[in-house]
């Protein structure tokens, strides 16, 4: 297998790490830099702290190396190996397949004794041949081109450079500005020199690099700019245009940015977000008005969610720091996305900065204020200590953002059920920022208004997909799953659960999303009687979370513990309750930890403690004042009451029914 010098180093380290042997043959004519390459490899190997043995001569019994690994054996001028050395080499190569010994051979080309050994090995079925890599000193292509360029005619060079920049033939001819006859002649010469492949006219390996390397930076840029302009005139596809633009200096025309953005969208949709991000970073070099740059930054931040989430956050912060005209929409979207990503400190500060802008339109100011109160509340910070001071939410808000957040804050506190439902419904009537709508959906599901909640979720999914708001979409799918669990639609809920991961890779999940997903997963697994699987799901989850995510995690742990150790489970649920209360969540409909802790106590025979919790749950459900929740609480309380005290088995039977 032919590899480059860089690959060689990677493969060598990798095979030693895996405890496997490998052979690397560095081959090329005299003066092509074999020895330099070998010594470079040797340098690299020793710097990595791997043992290096430079031979020949090979020791009488090279098998001694087999126990000494990992090591690298370097044989320069292997073509001059004598008969006995070849024998020793053969003995060694037959055995290194399973030991960390890499052999680097430098040979002068065809017909070496070492190659014969390898051919023998390959044919001998009784041993496994180690992987065999062939490396040509990198210098050779560069040298070849450097030498060849010196003798090429001007036309040939022009064409060669054009092909190197465009990567393809027809545009290159245009770029070289040669007539067909001259171009064909030049092409034939290049082909004869081996610089261009014969079948399909592209440059042979490394030639493009070498040709470009022989140009000055200014020449390269000039040629690339020309190629881009030409490509635009020839209406190249977005993919090709983007490839040309990526390396080219700024064009200064809107079409360049648009081409990059379009191609980035295509790549991102195919899941190739890192490549998309590269194009968008390039697009940022094109001049544009602030609002356009803001759009670009938002798109970029969505692409960076997978591989550089911090960078993505910072793009959004930058949008919120912008003060140009027509920035209202982008700023609000950036704030919305930051809030949804659960980067609370960053979001709060960025929103504070945006709110300090003196000429903010009133609607934007209200909406940003709403989002501000969302992040402050969800982070569990005290309302009143903020400096600079942000105005409080109005008592009866009309802005949909404020309505959603106000409803959610009311609902967390566990009172004013009817008012909260009205506000949440109002919030879902708008098509604005997604975070407040998700909050409103939570309110509705805590108020047992499942159908309204589901309709809201569908709308959020549509808008979220349109804006590429990936976290919001995942959150919406998760909420659909939990609403369906509450409706006892277990199969559909399981589908949603799986869909969350399809919408957003696990690595990008905010802690709370992750914890809520875990609860849903555990509930569904337990409903299916798969206790072991539920336990495994718990073990998978990261443990170092705090705030609300910790409460949800505890709840999941409590559920699993309930099956076997009801008293422990009750303890965990109480801890979950303390954690929720510390974060300001009192509403009994958010998580039924009180009733489940009661279940645990009852199963453990602690009837009085169970009854106290049931009574508390009743009181709080009454305070929340939503009939549906009160009814559900009564039903579950009846189930707990109906359970024989001190009987853990009864809990198991109960859990296997879907919770209503």
């Amino acid at each position: 297998m032919k590899v480059s010098e860089e690959q060689l180093v990677v493969e060598l380290t990798e095979s030693l790490r895996r405890g496997r042997g490998a052979v690397f043959e560095v081959t090329g004519p005299p003066g092509s830099g074999r020895t330099t390459l070998v010594s470079r490899i040797a340098d690299h190997v020793t710097r990595q702290g791997i043992r290096l043995i430079a031979a020949p001569p090979l020791p009488a019994d090279p098998r001694a190396f087999l126990e000494a690994g990992p090591l690298v054996l370097v044989l320069d001028d292997a073509q001059w190996l004598d008969e006995s050395s070849v024998g020793r080499l053969r003995a060694l190569l037959r055995r290194i397949h399973r030991v960390p010994v890499a052999v680097v051979l430098a040979t002068a080309g065809l017909g070496t004794a070492a190659e014969d050994v390898f051919a023998e090995l390959a044919e001998d079925g009784s041993v496994t041949a180690p992987p065999w890599y062939v490396v040509h000193p990198h210098q050779s292509t560069v040298d070849l081109v450097a030498r060849t360029l010196h003798v090429l005619s001007e036309h040939d060079i022009v064409l060669l450079r054009a092909v190197a920049v465009c990567g393809e033939w027809s545009l290159a001819r245009e770029l070289a500005d040669l007539n067909r006859v001259l171009a064909d002649e030049a092409m034939t010469r290049l082909r004869d020199l081996g610089l261009v492949t014969t079948d399909e006219p592209t440059l042979t390996d490394g030639v493009a690099q070498a040709v470009l390397a022989a140009m000055s930076a200014g020449e390269r840029n000039e040629l690339r700019s020309k190629a881009v302009a030409l490509g635009h005139r020839a209406v190249l596809g977005f993919e090709q245009m983007s490839a040309l633009l990526l390396e080219a200096p700024p064009v200064g025309r809107p079409w360049a940015r648009q081409a990059l953005q379009r191609e980035a969208r295509v790549l991102a949709a195919a899941g190739r977000t890192a490549e998309a991000a590269r194009l968008l970073v390039r697009a940022l070099n094109e001049p544009a008005i602030e609002a356009t740059r803001a759009q670009l930054l938002i798109q970029l931040s969505q692409c960076e969610l997978d591989h550089a989430p911090e960078a993505g956050d910072r793009r959004l912060v930058r949008v919120l720091h912008m003060t140009g005209p027509a920035m209202s929409g982008p700023r609000l979207r950036a704030a919305d996305m930051l809030a949804c990503r659960a980067r609370f400190g960053v979001a709060r500060r960025a929103i504070e900065t945006a709110l300090a802008h003196p000429d903010l339109p009133e609607s934007e100011q209200e909406a940003l204020t709403g989002l501000y109160w969302y992040v402050v509340t969800v982070a569990g910070e005290p309302d009143d200590l903020g400096v600079p001071a942000v105005p409080p939410l109005p008592d009866s808000p009309t802005n949909p953002v404020c309505q959603g957040i106000a409803a959610w804050r009311l609902a967390r506190g566990g009172s004013g059920g009817a008012a909260a439902v009205a506000l949440a419904t109002g919030a879902l009537a708008g098509r604005g920022p997604l975070t407040p709508r998700l909050a409103a959906i939570d309110v509705l599901s805590w108020a047992a208004e499942y159908e309204t909640a589901l309709a809201g979720i569908d709308a959020v999914l549509v808008d979220g997909r349109r804006h590429g708001a990936r976290v919001a979409v995942a959150e919406a799918v998760l909420r659909r799953g939990s609403v369906r669990v509450r409706q006892a639609r277990v199969v559909e809920a399981a589908e949603d659960l799986a869909a969350v991961e399809a919408e957003l890779p696990r690595g990008c999940w905010p802690a709370l999303l992750s914890a809520r997903h875990l609860v849903l997963e555990v509930v569904l697994l337990l409903a299916a009687g798969l206790v072991e699987a539920a336990r495994e799901a718990l073990a998978r989850e990261a443990a170092d979370v705090d705030g609300l995510a910790h409460a949800w995690r505890l709840f999941a742990h409590g559920l699993v513990a309930l099956v076997t150790e009801p008293a422990t489970a009750a303890g965990i649920f109480l801890e979950c309750g303390i954690c929720l209360r510390d974060m300001g969540v009192v509403n009994p409909a958010v998580l039924p930890w009180r009733l489940l802790a009661a279940l645990g106590w009852r199963a453990a025979g602690e009837v009085a403690r169970a009854d106290a919790l049931i009574a508390e749950a009743h009181d709080l459900a009454g305070r929340w004042g939503v009939p549906g929740v009160l009814r559900e609480t009564r039903q579950l309380a009846d189930v707990v009451h109906g359970m024989p005290p001190g009987d853990p088995e009864a809990v198991r039977r109960l859990l296997e029914l879907p919770r209503g």
């Binding site: 020895t35 911090e310 720091h321 001071a389």
Partner: protein, 770 residues
């Protein structure tokens, strides 16, 4: 073969007329010139004429410059050496190439040197010469040392602009090398080419990429002008930021740049400070925020925000600075709400320690809030928080007793607060009422426990009024809940908060009668604090442990710490108490009495009447008793008792009764002791109970009586006494001291007690005896 060997062979072969070209090539400093010198010596020693020339970068434009150096015509055997061929002029290169062509027919050896990777080493003309070589000797990469620096700098200065910008970028970026290209403003091809060239020159490992030796980086830095370096550092910080590098790395780079960078930098520094706080590194956070303040030099709300954040970072490490920064910030903002939000961030203890001007500022904000009524929800909350701080400060300040008592009223409030701000104020009111002994311990304990159950057990409670609950609950003798709560708070505590929480735990242990453990923690706190200043509330706590345990060492160490800080009223009282304890230890009873009376009169003046927190009367009574002034001793002991009864905490009353009993002879004394045992049965302080029972046993010297007191306990009096003391956390040695027997006897008593009670060890005692 070495380079010299190759040349020697070539010279030998050249004698009959078959000359050749030898190329010596390799990276910077590989020893080409030295080999050449040796070769010349060798040639001269064998009578071969030597012609020499060398390329020079500045002379590349002089036609035939190198050739002219060789001078004379060739006739007869000769060695021609050309150093630095890569810098030879074009004409000379062509001539040398054509000469090389003819060498095999001449008795001439030509040796040329090429410095790989340097400018010109890849030029086609140089390559043309090299290709005609019979031998190419590649010299190995040398080991770079400090001595190579000069040579390196010269070589680097001569590199083309593109190479230099790549090297500069590498030097500035350090470990984050994927950003070389944007920082150097070089395209990928240019960057790779430059790196390869530098690799061949022996300066860079282009695969990593990195400098082969720190000296190269230093040399690169030497070639940069300071202005250029700062420009690059600034751009590097921005690039690292945009590439999503961890915020603390970017912030670390910003620290090195001392001029303003704009809003993005402020955001980075604040985020970095936040994450430093989260991982428990407040010093780092402070550093970042100080740098952020550099970005916002004008007074205004933005600077105030940063100052407030700085104060939050500082409050665990330098409370005085935190208080100062908050007061500066409060003067910078324009709205009442912002002023209040800043005032609400004061750490109560720090406010009490702060200069009067700071307290007046907070008092002023409190008044401003009072005038600004009616409040919306947020302002209402803030008003409560500010009131809590101001009230707390007043309660600890001299001359404010009347106002503080006014605020408190006769009885605790009837309504229980619904918000965290309200609970903060309530905690302070309870604390003040406790210090002044204005309300009853029972009532205080009930409310304090409820407050505690609503407070998240977070480590940062130590910076809020919630921390006062610990002292309040200890004074009221209700310690069970707070002990568990503190354990939870300690779980996530950073080292700065750990000191406070441990001191709180020690106080709880002291009031649970687990005196030995309390003392151990106190010693730990002192040891870990080292030379750092401890907060006043921590010092007060440690001092109370020192006095109670009569640990001379602890007393004297604390006296040294507190001596300089007696301007703070609480520390002043504490200092007098410690001096009293030291006097007693030194048997200097009159001095001890004077100190204790001073402490008492100061406390009295401040309105601090709580007999549990300020037991100077009991101490003074003890001293008087020993001095023989029995009447005065009894009087003080009765006063202490009366106050304890008024406060109503069982431990305090029981202790006062015991003390009185020790001064009262006969059945009256025994009756007092019986009463003490009765009272202490209801207290959490098991040690006081044990001591009372022990005294009762001694006084009656009647097993029957003692046994009757202890119900149907199977233990002898001595065993019972030892067991009670063991339960109270006393070590065997301590029990031996109290019972005036040897340690071995104590061990025997305890072993018998375990056997009779059927328990394994100390752990089982409390269950078996309760």
């Amino acid at each position: 073969m070495t380079g010299l060997d190759v040349i020697a062979t070539a010279l030998r072969l050249a004698k009959p007329g078959a000359g050749s070209l030898v190329v010596l090539r390799g990276p910077l400093g590989c020893g080409r010139s030295k080999t050449l010198k040796d070769a010349r010596k060798l040639a001269e020693s064998t009578g071969v004429r030597v012609l020499r020339a060398a390329g020079a970068r500045q002379e590349r434009d002089f036609p035939f410059g190198v050739l002219h150096q060789l001078g004379e015509e060739l006739d007869g055997p000769a060695l021609i050496t050309v150093d630095d061929l890569q810098w030879a002029d074009e004409e000379s290169l062509r001539a040398l190439a054509s000469l090389a062509e003819r060498l095999d027919r001449l008795p001439v050896v030509m040796v040329v040197c090429v410095r790989d990777g340097d400018v010109g080493s890849d030029s086609p003309l140089v390559q043309q010469v090299v290709r005609r070589a019979a031998q190419v000797v590649t010299l190995p990469r040398p080991v770079l040392t400090e001595d190579s620096r000069r040579k390196l700098v010269t070589c680097l200065r001569a590199q083309p602009a593109q190479v230099r910008s790549v090297l500069d970028a590498m030097a500035v970026l350090g470990d984050d090398l994927e950003l070389i290209m944007p920082l150097a403003e070089v395209d990928e091809i240019g960057c790779t080419t430059a790196l390869r060239a530098m690799d061949r020159l022996g300066l860079v490992d282009h695969l990593a990429p990195r400098f082969v030796h720190p000296i190269v980086r230093e040399a690169v830095e030497e070639t940069m002008t300071p202005a250029h370096r700062v420009r690059l550092q600034t751009r590097a910080a921005r690039l690292l930021h945009d590439a999503g590098k961890p915020v603390e790395i970017v912030a670390g780079r910003l620290l090195a740049i001392t001029f303003a960078q704009g809003p993005w930098a402020v955001e980075v520094l604040r985020t970095a400070a936040e994450s430093a706080m989260e991982r428990g590194a407040p010093h780092v956070a402070v550093e970042h925020l100080r740098r952020a303040l550099l970005e916002q030099p004008q007074a205004g709300s933005r600077r105030a925000t940063l100052l407030a954040e700085l104060a939050t970072a500082e409050r665990g490490v330098d409370r005085a600075a935190a208080a100062t920064h908050l007061s500066v910030a409060a003067r910078m903002v324009t709205t009442t709400r912002e002023r209040a939000a800043i005032a609400a961030r004061f750490v109560p203890g720090a406010l009490a320690e702060a200069p009067p001007a700071v307290r007046e500022l907070v008092g002023g904000i409190e008044d401003e809030l009072r005038v600004a009524r009616p409040h919306d929800d947020l302002l209402g909350e803030l008003a409560l928080r500010v009131e809590a701080r101001s009230h707390h400060a007043e309660c600890l300040a001299p001359g404010r007793f009347a106002r503080c008592a006014d605020r408190l009223g006769e009885r605790p409030d009837r309504t229980y607060p619904a918000t965290s701000a309200g609970r903060e104020l309530m905690a302070v009111r309870l604390h003040c009422a406790t210090i002044a002994s204005a309300w009853r311990a029972g009532e205080v304990a009930v409310i304090a426990e409820r407050l505690l159950s609503h407070a998240p057990a977070r480590p940062d409670h130590v910076h809020t009024p919630i921390a006062t609950l610990v002292t309040t609950l200890c004074a009221a003798g209700s310690v069970d809940a707070v002990s568990a709560w503190l354990l939870r708070a300690l779980e996530h505590a950073a080292s700065t908060e750990q000191v406070f929480i441990e001191a709180e735990q020690a106080l709880v242990l002291l009031h649970s009668g687990r005196i030995a453990e309390a003392r151990t923690i106190a010693e730990n706190v002192l040891a870990t604090a080292g030379t750092r200043r401890l907060a006043s509330e921590v010092l007060v706590t440690l001092a109370s442990i020192a006095c109670e345990t009569r640990d001379d060492n602890l007393v004297s160490r604390l006296m040294r710490l507190i001596k300089e800080e007696t301007h703070h009223p609480a520390l002043s009282v504490t200092y007098q108490m410690l001096c009293g304890a030291a006097g007693v230890a030194a048997e200097d009873l009159p001095a001890a009495l004077a100190y204790l009376r001073d402490a008492g009169s100061q406390a009295q003046e401040l309105g601090w009447r709580n007999p549990v927190l300020y037991p100077w009367r009991a101490e003074a009574a003890g001293v008087l008793w020993r001095m023989g002034d029995l009447a005065a001793a009894r009087e003080l002991a009765w006063e202490q008792h009366a106050l304890a009864v008024q406060w109503g905490a069982a431990a305090g009353v029981g202790k006062a009764l015991c003390h009185l009993a020790s001064m009262t002879e006969g059945t009256a004394g025994v009756a007092l002791l019986r009463q003490a045992v009765d009272v202490l049965e209801g207290s959490a302080n098991r040690f006081e109970l044990a001591r009372a029972v022990e005294q009762l046993g001694q006084r009656t010297a009647d097993r029957q009586v003692a046994r009757a007191e202890q119900g149907d306990c199977p233990l002898t009096t001595a065993q019972r006494r030892a067991a009670e003391l063991a339960m109270a956390g006393r070590s065997n040695q301590e029990i031996a001291d109290v019972m005036r027997v040897s340690v071995r006897v104590v061990e025997k008593h305890l072993t018998n007690a375990y056997r009779k009670l059927g328990v394994q060890g100390r752990g089982g005692l409390s269950a078996a005896l309760s």
